[in-house]
């Protein structure tokens, strides 16, 4: 668990981070979003003490971070950045093994762990272990960066726009992998991004920052439904907010039990998003879909009215 209590950072006269308070629960992925220069990276770097905070308190697992030695603290916290920062003169395997090496793990255990991570991140060992960073594509380099951050199995992971420099397809692929990884590993992650779609896709908790302050925080749907002010609303996509909410809500959460026959012929998986269900409706020119489970059995149905939220308790806007 990471707790920030009215944490402040000044650079000269400029207040980069202004008395922000924030709690990230264990196993939670918290996304910091906001326009460039609003203090996201500074907040992140204060957590691993790359930057020392001027005011307030930061606690990790209940202990103030000033109690830890900075270097030892950083070895216990994974860190991945947009530019990857891979060492160009080290091979992929050596880069990934950096922190275990610093922690003086025996060489055999480091090698074993490096292989495990390469497999986990979809980097075939024979093909990549001995390559140098300059020989990797952007997406591969970023995988290596994430593997290096995970190497010593830290409980906490700090990620600063890790996918920011990638093309949209690669970025979405890595986002999906990070979601799967997180579902398995249950790390406590603070994830900085200025891409709202990325934040909505990944975050359990969304923290919107502006000019060094937290403007609003909460679950993605919570923010989409009730943005605190015009700034948050516009950051969340203005009129597109409804569609963005549809893109992160599962059909399974909205479906109704199968009503009277006949079962609609157009179908959609339970795990699909409302956005995808809408697309099927457009394509098939229908207003009702059968919802299927993993074994292709109909388990419910969903109507256009349900998707747009009408006739739903507290409905109106999704």
């Amino acid at each position: 668990m990471i707790e920030l209590k009215s944490v402040t950072k000044r650079f000269g006269d400029e207040t980069a981070v202004d008395a922000i308070s924030l709690t990230v629960e264990r196993g939670e992925l918290c996304a910091l979003v906001g326009t460039s220069g609003c203090g996201k990276s500074t907040t992140l770097r204060m957590i691993n003490r790359l930057i020392e905070h001027d005011g307030g308190e930061i606690h990790i697992e209940g202990r103030p971070i000033r109690e830890f030695d900075g270097r030892l603290l950083r070895r216990r916290i994974g860190y991945a950045i947009q530019s990857t920062g891979l060492f160009p003169h080290w091979t992929v395997a050596r880069n990934i093994g950096l922190v275990p090496g610093l922690l003086k793990w025996p060489a055999a255990r480091v090698a074993e762990r490096v292989e495990e991570l390469m497999v986990m991140l979809g980097l075939p060992v024979e093909a990549f272990a001995d390559k140098y960073p300059a020989q990797l594509s952007g997406g591969q380099a970023q995988r290596v960066g994430v593997a290096r951050a995970l190497a010593a199995d830290p409980d906490i992971l700090l990620m600063d726009e890790p996918f920011g420099a990638l093309d949209p397809i690669t970025r979405q692929g890595l986002q999906a992998e990070l979601r799967d990884l997180q579902a398995r590993l249950q790390k406590t992650i603070v994830f900085v991004t200025h891409d709202m779609d990325e934040a909505l896709a990944l975050a359990d908790r969304l923290v919107v920052m502006n000019a060094g302050r937290i403007v609003q925080q909460g679950g993605p749907l919570e923010l989409l439904r009730a943005p605190a002010d015009d700034f948050v609303a516009s950051l969340l996509g203005g009129d597109d907010r409804g569609l963005k909410a549809a893109a992160i809500t599962r059909v399974g959460e909205r479906m109704l039990p199968l009503a009277t026959r006949p079962v609609p012929s157009a179908r959609v998986p339970r795990e699909a998003t409302l956005h995808q269900a809408l697309a099927v409706m457009f394509r098939e020119h229908v207003e009702r879909l059968a919802v299927m489970d993993g074994d292709e059995r109909p388990v419910g149905e969903i109507s256009l009215r349900r998707i747009v939220g009408a006739g739903r308790e507290g409905g109106g806007e999704p």
Partner: protein, 242 residues
């Protein structure tokens, strides 16, 4: 030696062999030199054999350059650490002043203090050779990718670990280029030492100028040139990676 290793070291070996042949060749070299100055009474510098002069020359350059590397790289490292940043402009300026100061003037000033012989030329070469080393070390260390530095710190590496395992290996090619310039220039400049009594490959040149003997000048110049080529082509093949 394998074929590829031989290919790699071919140039420095060739220069070195030619250098040694001429320095020890005696009569053979003498007949070549005779051709350059048929009038002269003697054509081979008589005071000392060329191999001794060559070794002394190399020795002076090695000491001066060794000191310049230690001082230059050391100073550049210190002023790029958080504690030493304030001295960065000072060190950069001092190094360029060392090079604008003519080595002859350094010799003239050093002789009254250090006496005649080898020490004045070592001091002059040291001062003269610092700039390329300091300048390149600063450029190499300052030019590192900020992302790499942030990652190194962010992963929990200490200052010394970052310096030895990341910063110096990555800056090494640039630093090495500076050392190469410094050493090559100093091999030529060391000849000046002969004017204040150091005996090295400058001695035949000075004697040649005084006696109007072209052959003396030529043998000094040719050997210095070959020595510079040997060392330079050795540097060209060095490739330091941590």
């Amino acid at each position: 030696m394998s074929r590829s290793a031989f290919k790699r070291w071919r140039a420095p070996l060739a220069w070195c062999a030619l250098l040694l042949v001429l320095a020890t060749g005696g009569e053979w070299f003498e007949s070549l030199l005779r051709w350059s100055d048929p009038e002269a009474r003697r054509v081979l510098y008589p005071q000392a054999d060329l191999l001794t002069l060559l070794l002394r020359h190399l020795w002076v350059v090695a000491i001066a350059s060794g000191l310049a590397v230690v001082l230059g790289v050391g100073a550049a490292i210190l002023v790029t650490r958080p504690g030493g940043r304030d001295f960065l402009p000072l060190v950069a300026q001092a190094a360029s002043m060392g090079q604008t100061f003519p080595p002859v003037a350094v010799l003239a000033l050093a002789v009254p203090v250090l006496g005649f012989g080898t020490w004045p030329i070592i001091v002059a070469l040291l001062l003269y050779g610092l700039l390329p080393i300091v300048r390149n070390t600063l450029a190499g260390l300052e030019g590192l990718d900020p992302g790499v530095e942030e990652a190194a710190r962010g992963m929990g590496m200490g200052a010394a670990q970052r310096l030895w395992r990341v910063e110096l290996p990555l800056a090494a090619p640039v630093i090495l280029a500076g050392i190469r310039t410094s050493v090559t220039v100093n091999i030529a400049t060391a000849a000046l030492g002969a004017t204040v009594g150091a005996s090295n490959l400058g001695a035949p040149i000075i004697a040649g100028i005084i006696n109007g003997n072209t052959a003396y000048i030529l043998q000094g110049a040719v050997l210095i040139g070959l020595l510079a080529l040997t060392v330079d082509s050795l540097f060209a093949r060095l490739n330091w990676r941590g």
